[in-house]
């Protein structure tokens, strides 16, 4: 169980760091990096649980799917950032303020 705890602590730290990056960073690409940290912390959790506690491989399959989906999401997100950069010459999320919520 000791090993599992270490993995869970690391993944919780990754999750919180990702959250922190999303809250504090202004550059859209940095925010995306924070999101990737969160996704990967979940992936780490899945693999750790699969290895140490569940006794099946479902968690590792889930981790694979997370990697694939994260890549697809990043591709779409970067294209969207690039388009915004072409229009406004900035990738600062605070400057995207035409629509006020």
């Amino acid at each position: 169980m000791h090993n599992l705890t270490v993995y869970l602590l690391i993944s919780a730290a990754l999750f919180l760091l990702g959250l922190l990056a999303i809250m504090t960073r202004k550059n859209a690409v940095s925010v995306l990096m924070g999101i990737e940290l969160m996704l990967n912390s979940a992936g780490l959790n899945f693999v750790a649980f699969s290895r140490f506690s569940s006794g099946n491989l479902n968690g590792q399959v889930a981790a694979l799917f997370i990697v694939i989906i994260a890549a697809a999401e990043a591709a779409v997100a970067l294209a969207i950032f690039l388009n915004l950069y072409r229009l406004k010459a900035t990738s600062d999320v605070d400057k995207a303020d035409l629509l006020q919520g």
């Binding site: 859209a28 979940a42 992936g43 899945f46 889930a62 999401e73 997100a77 915004l84 919520g101």
Partner: protein
Amino acid sequence: MSPVTGQNLAQFTPELALAGGLLVLLIVDLIVRKNRGVIAAALGGILLVALVFISLAGNEKIGEYLFGAVVQDGMTLFFRVFFAAATLVSIGIMASTFKGEGEPFILVLSSVIGMFLLAGSNDLITLFVAIEMVSIPSYVLAGYRRKDPRSAEAALKYVLYGAFSSGLMLYGFSLLYGLTGETGLPEIAEGLIRNASGSPAHLVGIVLILAGVGYKIAMVPMHFWCPDVYEGSPTSITAYFSVLPKAAGFAALFRIVPIIASLKPVYGISAVGLITLVSALTMTFGNLGAIWQDSVKRLLAYSSIAHAGYILMGFAVIVALPAGELHNLAYTAVLFYLVVYLFMNLGAFMVVDLVERRLGGDSIGYFKGLGKHNPLPALALAVFLFSLAGLPPLAGFIGKFFLFAALVKAQMWALAIIGIANAVVSLFYYVRIIRDMFLYDPDVVPVEQDEGGFKLGTLTSVLLLVTVVPTLLLGVYWGPLAEWIKLRLM
């Protein structure tokens, strides 16, 4: 192919047909040069009509297949038919805006594959992949007008909030997998009731998953993106956003209800308390936000947040009573409301799209005097808005009536009273538009004008009929639909 795989794939016909049709559509779109949008919409429409029939013909007593990843039951059947029919109306609305472009239709249909998968998902992995298959094409759709900074900004907000919330949801999934060692949704619910019910990790997992799914249905506090994305996206695409991805979120919520209901109170926080709280907050926030809006598109965005809150009232009953007659009654109420919401909301956005294309804007000034120079669309919009407000004898009233009946029978008085107060507040901003349309003189006079108002094309007229007639009819003759839904739950 082994017989088992063959049999499994036979159940998967709607998804396979959709994927195959999408490939054909992609190739056709590459070949044709003119009217790409019209052709794509027509082919997509034929495909969706076929899907409605294939889905209706499906056997709903199959149970789990594809190694437990997908389940086919009455709920799967209902949502497949719902998604196919709603997409059919949506691409009809989009066809007037995108006559020369095929891509929006292909993107919509590819996210419908995700919705079909979501309707039957029975496993954490299937659920996650299906939700992302719905979301990723939607991000592109929001930013479809590449040259328009508002559209680009809408896409930015959509993709950042969307990816953030899927990160939260996945972390919640991983905690549930850790607690139970399973990824199948029914197994997780069983395992949670057996071992872990009431541990803090259980609570955190469920809150994170609710946040992720709540993002899709624009539930407070995960609603920030909704008004901005709806306002920035092209209006016909906003119509699609306001119904389909939202209903997909509810389909996901249906599948995880047993997991949410397995939570025993931790630190005084119970599952019913959580849903009741977010439901009350969501409708109150939506309605209070809508009052101050000048853009009708934005007003409808807030109104769609409020409607998500009303639907969540039904979920509060479902979670409070895991089985029994009242449980089924609440299910029926929620599904019925989704059908009603489909017609009235798509209809309202369609008229807003029409006005925006003909007069040049969507702020409330453009609607002034619409009843004088364009009586038909104005009357239709009045019907949709009265129905959204929940006035008899329209479909929205019956939908709300079912929801409140379930709440009252479950004796959840507090939520019922908040809901009724909200319905009264909402009347104010809906009626304001209707007053402006019929009692005021127009600020803006349309440029191209026939004697009877806008030239309504055949397609627009048909779509207006398709949305107005059910909104009127379901208000007086709701029995067969409610009965059909009830039978799906058996």
